[in-house]
């Protein structure tokens, strides 16, 4: 299942297909359905201006993709998007303040959106995509990191409860470039994201982390794909999820593919899920395919379980009441990833939202 191997013909996916068998297609409002018309709109934008950052809206014909995809919805996005938001960071520029790209649509009519992010050689930036409000969205973000560049990319799913969001975020990481991505999925009734990575030069590095918290009725799906298509690249994948409430549902796939020519690959992936109540279900499938033994390291881990009684006992034995002990453990579980962002404002926002959700779920 590599990115290039099955360039299948566009069609409406069914739940009999491996890539779609976990997704409740009926809830997609036609995003996947070739018989349903989707409108095209550049729904991301920013009010900021910063030196070294250029935003333009270009015709899709002037922004052809350089990657292939086997995701049927991404194919639709590519076909139907008429305009593309292009974000460019000038070479040799360090953009100090985070760039916030925010959705500004309040409509549940299904629509597509395309974004292109380009980091010039030896540039450095932080880009935060804020998905807020209510939408039925299929989107693709293609990210190019030129030699020696460094991007911290945050995709925040802070949707209202009725949002449906299918997304494909593909990074092409150049020589000695570093891509650090954090996906935070809290809102939406159905969110299915595909963070994918390929490499364009040795010394390239990808750090893909994420958190998700599903409460009653939410389906949150993340399918990571790292294609070690050349030698001496590095990847780290670390996703953590919690589930609470009846029919809370998460799906996590981590496909790491080390090709025959990818000597010196260094990769490790881990997914941890915390089940906070009965009736919730988490699927976790790490998958490592290795075609060469000449690597630095490759490993994976996956756990799904309830609270650690020993942790709770330890905290309670210090006088901390059981409910506060549970909150501390959950907070800590997520904070391990969120605090690494180095963005205190986002950290506080995300932790507040998690706390509010926990309160509602009365964990």
């Amino acid at each position: 299942m590599t990115l290039n191997s099955n360039l299948l013909a566009p069609h409406t996916p069914t739940s009999r297909e491996e890539l779609w068998r976990f997704t409740p297609l009926a809830k997609l409002r036609g995003l996947h359905d070739l018989d349903v018309a989707l409108s095209s709109r550049v729904s991301l934008g920013t009010s900021q201006t910063q030196a070294g950052v250029t935003l333009t809206i270009v015709d899709s014909l002037d922004a052809p993709q350089t990657s292939t995809t086997d995701d049927l919805v991404s194919m639709r996005v590519r076909e139907l998007a008429t305009k593309v938001l292009r974000v460019e960071i000038s070479a040799n520029t360090e953009v100090s303040a985070p760039i916030f790209l925010t959705r500004s649509v309040e409509s549940l009519d299904p629509e597509v959106s395309r974004t292109e992010i380009r980091l010039g050689a030896n540039s450095r930036a932080t880009i935060v995509v804020e998905n807020i409000g209510s939408m039925t969205l299929a989107e693709e973000i293609e990210i190019h990191l030129e030699t020696g560049s460094n991007l911290t990319f945050v995709s925040l799913q802070e949707w209202e409860n009725d949002a449906v969001h299918l997304g494909h975020h593909h990074a092409i990481i150049g020589k000695d470039a570093t891509f650090t991505s954090t996906v935070i999925t809290l809102g939406g009734t159905l969110v299915r994201l595909l963070p994918t990575v390929e490499y364009a030069g040795a010394g390239a590095s990808a750090e893909l982390s994420g958190i998700y918290f599903a409460t009653s009725g939410q389906h949150l799906e993340h399918r990571i794909h790292v294609d070690h298509n050349l030698a001496h690249a590095k990847s780290r994948v670390n996703y953590k999820g919690a589930l609470s409430g009846d029919k809370a549902r998460t799906v996590w796939f981590g496909d790491v593919y080390i090709r025959a020519n990818a000597e010196g690959t260094d990769t490790y992936e881990v997914n941890r899920n915390l089940l906070l109540s009965d009736g919730a279900r988490a699927d976790s499938v790490p998958n490592l395919e290795i075609e060469t033994g000449e690597i630095v390291g490759a490993g994976h881990a996956s756990t799904t379980g309830r609270f650690d009684d020993e942790q709770l006992f330890y905290l309670e034995s210090r006088g901390i009441p059981a409910n506060i002990a549970r909150q501390l453990v959950i907070r800590g579980f997520f904070l391990e990833i969120v605090s690494k962002l180095g963005l205190p404002e986002i950290e506080e926002r995300v932790m507040n939202r998690i706390e509010a959700e926990l309160e509602k779920a009365s964990v």
Partner: protein
């Protein structure tokens, strides 16, 4: 003046083969200012005694009673026991990822004291207590016990005891895994808390070496789930010489 009164305590754990009786009638009374050493071979049930008093859910009380100043400890939840004045320094302190030591200590102190400590005095209090235990201030920002060495974990336990000021402290093999310097620092910490707060101490240990630093008033020999011999500090010297052999065969 506080009194912890353990009477005929019987405790079992559930195993794959069914319930297994571990404590077979423990009687022990500890008062403020007293230090009781509990000494016994591995597997004799010392940790079971400590955990049962603290309320670990794994252990089932099958008989007997535990009272602290007349209040029924076995009826209390785990956090209520701590608020009542019990403290357990664990043999194997637990790692809690993502929860910083400073947040943990403050949350615990708030719970035990019934109100949040004043920020300004609190920071100083923690710093001072850490310095006294030779702990790097950087520990405050690390996750609870995560990546701590054995000795660092034990110091962290005593730090908590110092800040939470219990009435009765149970120290479960606080000496194990410590080198001589760490043993001295940790012991001094225990003595400091003992002297300034007049607490009662149950000092569980396998070896006599910690008793050179923390002087016991009473020594109880523990074997097969009960106290089999009692005496003063001189009993420890006998154990040092002869070991536990006579108690195990008994």
């Amino acid at each position: 003046m506080s009194t912890l009164e353990i009477k005929n305590l019987q405790v079992a754990v559930s195993t794959d083969e069914g319930m297994k009786q571990i404590l077979r009638g423990v009687d022990l009374t500890i008062k403020s200012g007293e230090t009781h050493a509990i000494m016994g071979p591995n597997g004799s049930g010392k940790s079971t005694l400590a955990y049962s008093i603290a309320g670990h859910p794994k252990y089932t009380i099958t008989g007997g009673s535990v009272f602290l100043d007349g209040a029924d400890v076995l009826e209390m939840s785990v956090d209520e026991r701590a608020k009542a004045g019990l403290f357990l320094a664990m043999q194997y302190p637990v790692e809690v990822p993502g929860v910083s030591v400073s947040n943990f200590l403050r949350t615990a102190a708030t719970a035990i004291r019934g109100e949040a400590p004043k920020v300004r005095t609190w920071v100083g209090e923690v710093k001072e207590a850490m310095a006294a235990l030779n702990m790097d201030p950087a520990f405050a920002e690390r996750s609870v016990n995560e990546g701590f060495s054995g000795g660092e974990k034990k110091r962290h336990e005593i730090l908590q005891m110092e800040l939470l000021k219990p009435k009765i402290a149970i120290l479960d093999e606080t000496d194990s895994g410590l080198d001589v310097d760490a043993l001295r620092i940790v012991s001094e910490g225990v003595n400091r808390v003992k002297d300034s707060n007049d607490i009662g101490v149950m000092l569980i240990t396998h070896y006599t070496r910690i008793l050179r630093y923390i002087k016991p008033d009473f020594v109880h020999v523990f074997a097969a789930g009960r106290i089999v011999e009692e005496g003063g500090a001189e009993l420890a010297d006998k154990l040092e010489e002869k070991g536990y052999a006579e108690y195990i065969s008994a």
